[in-house]
Symmetry: C2
Subunit: 483 residues, 2 copies
């Protein structure tokens, strides 16, 4: 409540009320009589600051704006109530993440963002380069054709021969030698120029000469910190990463971002069972933390976005996760299909990679709670996952949760040198690229496990929002990198 | 202590003792008699795991290895004692950072890593692109010369005329029209091919056609989250960022990295004085946290690396920072020079940008403790810093600490629309590029301030290590991005 005289000092009450106005007010906070809409009221005694806002031009002054429209006004977007609530929930989940791992003795490790290791299929990676920036620098370099280069080379050779011939009968003259040196220099310069095609220095096969790039070889944005996390876990025991990761996929879905944050713990002396327990403990800790620390925002979300959000968090916080092997999960799904209860777009049979429709059906319909599926067929999982005794499956696990499907993917890592080498060979991969990884098995190998969680998926799970672009402050997808 | 029979079960005691061997042991932890070197001893009753290590080939088996050598064995580097201690100190400082800001009501905001805004001088930025990856895709596209293109164009035009002429007297035949359509298609294809030079699609001026790139325009790695932090602070009050930032500088010094982590708080309704107080509180909190939580590692560092490390942390934890204006600082330095006490490489006079030698002299010699220098000449500081009443200085501040020099740089931001617009114009910058930034001042402007701290500098300060490459898990500098 602003008394009239207090408002008049800053130009009248009207200057204070337009949407978007910022004010700093001094006053007394008082309880309002019971039954009133608000619990407290601020009785203003002084206005310390007014940042006016012209409602006629303010882009988000309207009461209802769509998420799409807000994404076009990225710099004002956090002023929208839902985005603000999401920002606070995101903050709470980030701090809960650090708290959980710190309380359990994990070290936070900053794995690199720029990486020259290309273990993960470079097709989906963004390249980090200074080559395109050098185009300007090379713009003034004269173009040299192959013919010109050949001509210069011939001239250089001829002069070389001439000097040699002269030397056979007398000391070569200064003019002869100077001409040779000048030609040499000219040729070197021309040779260098001829290698610049389209503003980029090239190798003979036309590909860029990466010696000219910042890191002297191709460099990319990381898709995972697992490799580097294993280096640290095998030296210092339990560690976790929490940092940005990247995918250069041309994907426009509501579930994909080109830049997102990932959490990847990696634990020494840890098998798949411990790994599953850690994943469960972590997710349940996050749910509890949110319920304890973000009540107002969760109530807002529950009212405006998804009226099952709080119930979902409560259930996950209080119920141990179910666990089923991949084989059991397939049997359950096949049974549902056989009984005509459910039709899936993708066929269900042992050996398939579970699709989101299968994952969501398992967690939302069959178990009606989070479920961990473990021991997947080795053919559909990565080479570094530990081969089980059956020779058919690997010690991998996925945590599936209602609303999202797969929230976490993890595995025990193959710690046996010979088995790992064989799997790399079977996969047709270049074993030389994995020397560092193999060294971990050569020098004091340790059973170890880890998992990865896409942080934005956790926020989707907590808020019930449908589009992943709404749960990150500055979403990036093909064609979009505003600010 | 491993009894002989326990050791024999795993092949003898010798298998357990080589450097680099990993073991998992079950046993009883017992206090040793007073006066013994160790405080406790583990009496092994069972060996659960042995990961052997061949000392003959283990690259870091030697007792003393140089930091340089360790950097060549990046995947084994964290096994070195100093690097391990640094990793734990880094972890503690990271968590202290989150704790400090969370306890004070700041929101952790993930500002973007990939950014299309180029406000910060693109010369030092890494470019993020998929254009070079497309070279392969374009490798099979036939080269089309301008002559060929012109010829096709002429043929197309002629056929167009022919059809037009035919139409004037009779309906055009299918053959005539088909030929026209085919030529059109051929021309379009050839035109597209002709724009690919050196594997990259071009605009007429030869520069890359960024419509072809992932984000449809040039994108870069962030050099600071301040801009986006301001968007959030002006919506949700106090926020902080803690994420990776990048500089594509060809710098090989012990103080520079191409990839490093930065902490940037941004506070609404906050002036320079509050900003300085926050910076001081934060640094002192970190020192206290380290002293309380990393005693063993600090003692190791104090013994092996820098025997002033603990004393420095204690002093900073317990002493309020000094504050001097830039003008006072210059007077102090000039006086020292005038009295012949000290010679600087760089001349000291009002208007200069303080060099590291000046900064370190102020904090290490004159004040012998951390000092905050504020109100710098506007000419040497950024356009967005708030202009003071004197019209000559801006509300900027730097925190200087012993061992490192500048640890923090911050300022109150210019919140007055007209003043900010004038400063952008004076700086010869393109005002259109700052529309979002100006909108913050148009719609509910708020006095606000912030600062930035290079996280690795904080670790250098805490450990006394000389080279910044030792305090980040995977250092990146020109030519170096191993793993």
């Amino acid at each position: 409540m602003v008394p009239k005289d207090v408002g008049e000092e800053v130009g009248g009450l009207k200057t204070l009320t337009a949407t978007g106005t910022s004010v700093l007010v001094e006053g007394r906070l008082e309880a309002t009589p019971e039954g009133t809409k608000q619990a407290v009221e601020l009785k203003a005694t002084k206005i310390l600051h007014v940042g006016p806002c012209d409602a006629a031009t303010y882009p988000i002054a309207k009461k209802k704006t769509s998420y799409e429209f807000l994404r076009e006004k990225m710099h004002l977007r956090p002023r929208a109530n839902t985005i603000g609530a999401v920002a606070r929930i995101r903050n709470a989940l980030a701090f809960a993440t650090h708290r959980f791992f710190q309380e359990n003795g994990f070290l936070y490790v900053h794995t690199p963002i720029i990486t020259a290791s290309d273990c993960e299929g470079a097709g989906e990676m963004f390249q980090v380069t200074t080559l395109l920036g050098k185009m300007k620098e090379y713009a003034d370099v004269p173009t040299v054709s192959l013919e010109q280069l050949e001509a210069l080379k011939a001239e250089l050779a001829a002069q070389g021969e001439a000097v040699k011939a002269a030397k056979a009968v007398r000391p070569a003259s200064k003019a002869e030698v100077d001409k040779l040196l000048k030609l040499k220099e000219e040729f070197a310069k021309a040779e260098e120029s001829s290698r610049i095609v389209g503003g980029i220095k090239r190798l003979p096969d036309g590909t860029p000469d990466y010696k000219d790039d910042f890191f002297s070889k191709p460099a990319y944005l990381t898709v995972s910190g697992q490799l580097q996390g294993e280096f640290y876990a095998c030296a210092l025991s339990n560690i976790y990463t929490f940092g940005p990761t990247f995918r250069a996929e041309y994907s426009f879905t509501a579930r994909h971002l080109a830049e997102f944050w990932m959490i990847e713990p990696e634990m020494a002396f840890c098998d798949l069972k411990d790994d599953m327990q850690c994943a469960e403990d972590y997710v349940r800790y996050c749910c509890k933390y949110l319920l304890d620390n973000c009540q107002t925002d969760l109530e807002f979300i529950n009212k405006m976005v998804d009226n099952t959000a709080i119930a979902r968090l409560q259930q996950v916080a209080h119920t141990p996760f179910k666990r089923v092997s991949y084989t059991e999960a397939i049997d359950l799904l096949k049974d549902v299909v056989a009984r005509g209860v459910k039709k899936f777009e993708y066929n269900v049979e042992w050996g398939i990679d579970l699709q989101t429709e299968h994952e969501r059906y398992l967690t939302e319909e069959i178990f009606k709670q989070p479920v961990i599926v473990y021991n997947y067929p080795k053919e559909i999982k990565a080479f570094y996952m530990r081969l089980n005794e059956d020779g058919k499956t690997v010690a991998a696990m996925d945590v599936l949760v209602p609303k999202v499907g797969e929230l976490i993917g993890g595995s025990q890592r193959e710690d046996r040198l010979d088995v790992l080498e064989k799997r790399i060979e079977e996969g047709g991969m270049d074993i030389a690229a994995y020397e560092g990884y193999l060294d971990l098995r050569r020098y004091g190998t340790v059973p170890h496990s880890g998992f990865g969680l896409g942080f934005e998926r956790l926020i989707l799970f907590a808020t019930g929002l449908d589009n992943i672009r709404e749960v990150i402050p500055f979403p990036r997808w093909p064609g979009n990198a505003a600010y």
